[in-house]
Amino acid sequence: MYAQMVKTDGTGIKSSEQMTPEERAFQERIDADSRIEPKEWMPAGYRKTLIRQISQHAHSEIVGQLPESNWVTRAPTLERKAILLAKVQDEAGHGLYLYCAAETLGISRDEMFEQLHSGRAKYSSIFNYPTLSWADIGTVGWLVDGAAIMNQVPLQRTSYGPYARAMVRICKEESFHQRQGFHIMMQMAKGTEAQRRMAQDALDRFWYPALMMFGPSDADSVHSAQSMAWKIKIDTNDGLRQKFVDQTVPQAEYLGLTVPDDKLAWNADKFGEGKGGYDFSEPDWDEFFAVISGDGPCNAERLGARVKAWEEGAWYREGLMANAAKQADRQPAQAAA
């Protein structure tokens, strides 16, 4: 998802007998749906995995601004421009909520930035694809934010308090993102023939990268099992992907657009007992692994933009700290008050 292939620390799930008394008490609290708060005892692996997951999620929100900001100056109307600006600003806010949540685990903001800028930390593969037309902005809102919501709604119940609370805030705002995207697509799909073709082209290019957002199948992964036992991962990647396809295909039909998958078909008994779902083609996982490890169409451009912004802002950050120190020196009385 926004956090893809987060490596879970630890050696897999321990049985109750294998756990230390502290670990057992911790797991019992999680099983009882109690929230873990910053200063409470937690297994080192839980802390490490959460830092990795939350920071990756935060990085995705921040890098995710870049493909959209490309269209701020090119938006077709002033209203669309204002809406897009608001959405991009929300993404910055989401990144900040999440960085704060990660900081409560004992990692500094600068350290997380360093991990992102040096390429040691990942961010979602989806943001390494280019946004070539205005319809791409619609598709990103509709599919990318739609997929994000699918993952984030259950994470509101995640076991780590600050992460769950950040997710509540994010989910409240995310629905606007998806709806504004779908609204763009409605206008394009029902517009001129050229606009309709643009909308179809955007769907063609973003469909499989959107499916990749959920990550490869983790049904048999011991790491995922540990993260699920800790309730920092709530659903399987395949489960979320299925849900996303089932929700999105009717929306594409409403738009009169064609999902680029010959094998797509409703299977009324896919999960037995009358529970249906769409059969669909898997994305190209080789492409996914290339993109997530730095070799996608826009990886260098995205990281380059981040590093440039960070380095060119250094004088500003330092200058304001120097100014704050000077002001504090001048007004010792006020500081003490």
């Binding site: 708060e37 910053p38 200063k39 409470e40 005892w41 608001a86 600003q89 929300d90 806010g93 900040l96 909520y97 704060c100 900081e103 409560t104 685990l105 004992g106 990692i107 500094s108 903001r109 600068d110 350290e111 360093e114 609370r165 950040a166 805030r169 705002e173 250094a314 950050r317 330092e318 304001l320 700290m321 100014n323 704050a324 002001q327």
Partner: protein, 114 residues
């Protein structure tokens, strides 16, 4: 051990200081009063170089949708927090004092609302 001197978060290691010589902007905790005459409520934290920037950043980060009519910003380093290990001694004594709740006392119905 002592709860009174400990902050709200675990100690942040400072490996960043080895790589980046400059200090981070300090962390601030943000409290917002909602629209309905409620108390200021903790909503999260942010980094800012000084108090004025903390308020304006809080405006941008936490009140983009009319969530508040007033903001408090407090340096995270100035927050004093109780320790999780002291939860028992601090809060358990209240458990045995059920008479502090009005429902402890049965008042006959004929007395009417009280």
């Amino acid at each position: 051990m002592s709860s009174v001197s400990s902050s709200a978060y675990p100690d942040t290691k400072e490996p960043a200081a080895e790589r980046t010589p400059r200090p981070e902007w300090p962390l601030w905790e943000i409290f917002i009063r909602g629209q309905h005459g409620l108390n200021h409520r903790h909503v999260g934290s942010l980094h800012a170089s000084d108090a004025q920037m903390a308020i304006s950043n809080a405006r941008d980060v936490y009140t983009r949708r009319n969530e508040g009519v007033s903001i408090w910003a407090v340096r995270s380093a100035d927050i004093v927090a109780s320790a999780p290990s002291e939860k028992g001694p601090l809060f358990d004594p209240a458990d045995s004092k059920v008479y502090r709740h009005p429902t402890f006392f049965d008042i006959p119905e004929e007395v009417g609302h009280m």
